[in-house]
């Protein structure tokens, strides 16, 4: 049986729904020893900013139960280096290049969008309005009016599809989502990390130099799934889901709940072939269930809970 994983968002076609979460896959060919980039639905870069950023002081990462905290702080070599040294690599590939961008102001985002849309090979933009690890990282996401203003300003200058990446914490995600949709975002990326903290009991110091870091990995998967569900219940908007997806079973939970695309994130750090394993696993599942098209699987979540018709919530 030939499995058809083709996924469309607006005018953009993805050969399959498997992508990578920004910040976990480098900016160029870091995973080329393990992954055939042409087999990915899309590659989403680590955040690119207008000027180079050196990121946060060390320590920046720590392991937590079924997850990790990071406070990298958007370290990157800046837009010009990206255009000159990184984009050419993607031009030769068949996969979609989605460039994740962030700035300190609306002008920064607009500048980045205008500059990037002129570059051959850039297929879409992902607006990072939810990085918890930089000064103004969450400010746009914290306020629906600001989120609207930002997405609208970028919408006005580019025809590229826009994905807006939201944060789950502290704010009414659905109100921010609504603002972004009204402003013309083509899709939502759900979700960014959740701020957390860890303490070294020997030194009695925080484990991260910035005290807080973004929690990612399997620990946050149920939260990401819940937001996908809520957004899909409320809006007709394509969603790129991420949050602890480690294997095909995880990815299928999101696809069944309605995700248009899914991204493998933290799992790339542990298994550099995780994306390929997820893709193979989705195909095997569909073959086994005799489902030929991903569209016939996507969003087929049944309304009643339970396994084999029985409710899974234990009585008492």
């Amino acid at each position: 049986m030939k499995i058809d994983l083709t996924t469309k968002i607006g005018n953009l076609t993805f050969t399959n729904p498997v992508t990578v979460a920004s910040g976990t896959f480098g900016t160029k060919d870091e995973y080329a020893s393990f992954v055939n980039y042409n087999k990915l639905g899309a590659v989403i870069t680590k955040t690119i900013t207008r000027l180079p950023r050196e990121g946060n002081p060390m320590p920046r990462i720590c392991e937590t139960p079924s997850g990790m905290l990071n406070a990298i702080g958007l370290q990157n070599k800046g837009l010009e280096d990206f255009i000159e040294n990184k984009i050419p690599f993607f031009r030769k590939l068949k996969t979609n290049l989605i460039v994740n961008i962030a700035g300190d102001s609306v002008e920064d985002y607009v500048y980045l969008a205008e500059r990037l849309q002129k570059e051959n090979g850039v297929k879409a933009l992902e607006l990072n309005i939810s990085c918890p690890n930089v000064k103004k990282g969450l400010s746009f996401c914290a306020n629906p009016e600001l989120a609207y203003e930002l997405v609208k300003a970028v919408r006005d200058v580019t025809a590229l599809p826009i994905f807006t990446k939201l944060s789950p914490e502290g704010f009414d995600l659905l109100r921010v989502a609504d603002a972004c949709i009204r402003a013309g975002t083509n899709a939502l990326s759900l979700m960014n990390t959740i701020r957390g903290m860890a303490v070294d009991i020997e030194t009695r110091k925080p484990k991260l130099a910035r005290i807080f870091g973004g929690l990612s990995g399997p620990a946050i998967r149920p939260v990401a799934l819940r937001y996908l569900y809520e957004v899909k219940q409320r809006f007709h908007i394509p969603v790129l889901s991420m949050g602890g997806i480690t294997n095909a079973a995880d990815a299928l939970e999101f696809l069944i709940t309605g995700a248009d695309l899914i991204a493998v994130g933290t799992a790339n750090f542990i298994n550099p072939r995780a994306t390929m394993d997820v893709l193979d696993g989705i195909k095997s599942y569909m073959k086994e269930k005799r489902i030929q098209k991903i569209d016939d699987l996507r969003g087929t979540l049944k309304p009643e809970a339970g396994r084999d018709g029985r409710n899974c919530i234990p009585a008492g």
Binding site: E63, I72, N268
Partner: protein, 256 residues
């Protein structure tokens, strides 16, 4: 760079501090340079989530050995692995120590988990030279002293400093280095060091004072091991670089 599932040939405690893990894989052993490392997935689960990095200790043919200390939940679980169980191992990773250093004499300064890669490095040098490498190892007590069988031909080249004085010179390893630096022409020495950060910083400071070149190998906490997550960066004169991909070995010249 390969990600290989290997079978454990041996995993045993060799003294009060170190465990030795042995496995066989030509993909992980071919063209390895001392100072390079492996990122080992200890459990196929989310606890612990990350792999754990270990430097190469010894390589002969396809056989690879690493020495490790039990310091946390990852190494604890690793120490419980028996012969025949499997591990997923990513490697060889990073850039190793310089093997060619011209006509200079090699001074290897190690402490704790920094000792194994230096033994690997020393083993790769010609010991028949009139000026064989000098190995200076520091540890808390004689508990950590490697059995002579581990050092084989290197055993007469090693000097120890222990904090409690139970073996060799009492005090830090820098005490041994101080003597070497005094007794030799600095232009004819080259230092390579690996161990606790404070030790390496002291070694580099002393070396710079007298104008000796050298390299150090960082042991930063890391996740991916391939330069993607940017979690393990160190400060260099050219900005922040990853210790997993750009390092872990950096020359004194590159560092601030």
């Amino acid at each position: 760079m390969h990600d290989v599932t290997v079978e454990i040939l041996e995993n045993k405690k060799i003294n009060a501090v170190y465990w030795k893990l042995t496995f066989s894989s030509s993909k992980l052993s071919d063209n390895v340079r001392p100072g390079q490392f492996l990122n080992i997935q200890i459990e196929n689960s989310t606890a612990p989530l990350w792999r754990r990095p270990f430097s190469y200790y010894r390589v002969s043919g396809p056989k690879v050995e690493i020495l490790y200390e039990v310091v946390g939940c990852g190494t604890e679980k690793l120490s419980q692995k028996k012969r025949g169980s499997t591990l997923k191992i990513l490697g060889p990773l990073g850039k190793g120590f310089s093997q060619k250093i011209g006509a200079k004499r090699r001074i290897l300064v190690g402490g704790g988990c920094g000792v194994p890669p230096l033994i690997f490095l020393a083993g790769k040098t010609k010991l028949s030279d009139s000026t064989p490498p000098i190995l200076l190892f520091g540890c808390q007590s004689d508990d950590a002293i490697l059995p002579k069988t581990e050092l084989s031909k290197l055993k007469n080249l090693v000097s120890y400093a222990t904090e409690d004085g139970s073996c060799g010179t009492k005090g830090f390893v820098t005490k041994l280095l101080e003597k070497i630096l005094k007794e030799n022409n600095p232009k004819k020495l080259f230092i390579q060091t690996c161990g606790p950060k404070a030790m390496m910083e002291a070694v580099m400071r002393m070396a710079r004072t007298v104008g000796v070149d050298g390299e150090l190998s960082f042991d930063e906490r890391m996740a991916c091991g391939i330069g993607a997550c940017l979690g393990c960066v160190v400060e260099t004169k050219e900005g922040r670089k990853t210790s997993c991909h750009d390092g872990p070995v950096f020359s004194f010249e590159e560092l601030p």
